[in-house]
Amino acid sequence: MNEAALKSDTQDSDTQDSDTQDIVVDEVFPHALETIWKTLTSGELMARWIMAPTGFEPVRGRHFTFKTTPAGAWDGVIRCQVLEVVPNQRLAYAWKGGDESNVGYGSRLDTVVTFVLSRVENGTRLRLVHSGFVLPKNDAAFKNMSEGWKKVVQKLGAITDEQD
C-alpha cells in the first residue's frame, strides 16, 4: 500500500557533483478529490497528518513554517513558501531548513514539496514529490551498505524523527 520510490534526478553542473534526488510517494485514496485537497490546504487538517504549520495559507508567495526537532546550530524550523497553487490539482511549496555546520539530519536543506492530485476510478491519486535532496559526497559508501544495514538505520531513524 505504501509505495515509495527514489528517483534519480541528476543535474549536471560544471562546478561540482550536484546530484539531487527526489522522494516520491504515490497512492490512491478512496475519497473525493476535493476532500484530499482540503487536507492539503487547511492548516488545521495539515496539522493532523503532516505537522502543524504556522502562517499557512494556500496563496502563492505565502511564507509559513513547521517546527520540528532541532539539531546543533539549527533551530528545527522548516521555512516554507508557497510556490504554486492550482485548486484541486497541484500544490507546491519550498521546504528549507538545517545548517551548514550539521551533517546528516539537520544539515542544510533546500528542497521543494509538490502534491499532485488526479481523479481515478475508485477515488483520488495523490502523488507527493519531495525534490532537491543533495546527497553527501561520499554517498557511494552509504549506498553500498547492505540491505540489513539500511534496516538498522531506518529503525533507528525513528529516534530522530519528527515528534508530533
Binding site: 510517494v25 475519497h31 551533517v103 539530519y105 559508501a141 531513524g157 524523527d161
Partner: protein, 109 residues
C-alpha cells in the same frame, strides 16, 4: 571531523554484528547495565564492555555511573551522519501518508 570521517566512524563501529546487536539492545532499553547486556548475549562481559567502549567513542552511547553500576543509554545524535535528510524524509512521508489515510477515514467515513 569531516563529514566523510564521521560517517566512516559510525559505519565502522556498527559494522560488527555483535556490536550492532549490543547497540540495538541499548536503543530498545531506556538504560541498561553491562551485566544486563551480557545476560543471554552469548559473549563475555569483557567483550560487551569493549563494544560499549567503541560505541561510546563513536558517540552512539552515553554512560551514567551510579554507585557500583554504570548505566548505558543510546545517543541518537550519534547516528545523525547516517540518518541523512533523504532517508529521514523517505520514512517521514510514508508515515504521513498513513496518517492521511487514517484522517480521511475520520473526516470522510
Amino acid at each position: 571531523m569531516t563529514e566523510a570521517n564521521l560517517i566512516n566512524a559510525v559505519m565502522r563501529t556498527l559494522a560488527d554484528p555483535t556490536r550492532r546487536a549490543v547497540f540495538e539492545r541499548v536503543v530498545r532499553s531506556n538504560e541498561i547495565t553491562v551485566v544486563e547486556l551480557t545476560r543471554g548475549s552469548g559473549v563475555t562481559q569483557g567483550a560487551i564492555s569493549q563494544h560499549l567502549k567503541s560505541l561510546k567513542q563513536a558517540g552512539l552511547v552515553a554512560e551514567r555511573p551510579e554507585g557500583r553500576n554504570v548505566f548505558y543509554r543510546a545517543e541518537p545524535e550519534g547516528l545523525a551522519p547516517l540518518v541523512d535528510w533523504m532517508s529521514h524524509y523517505g520514512a517521514f512521508w510514508r508515515e504521513r501518508f498513513t496518517n492521511l489515510r487514517t484522517l480521511l477515514k475520520e473526516i470522510d467515513p
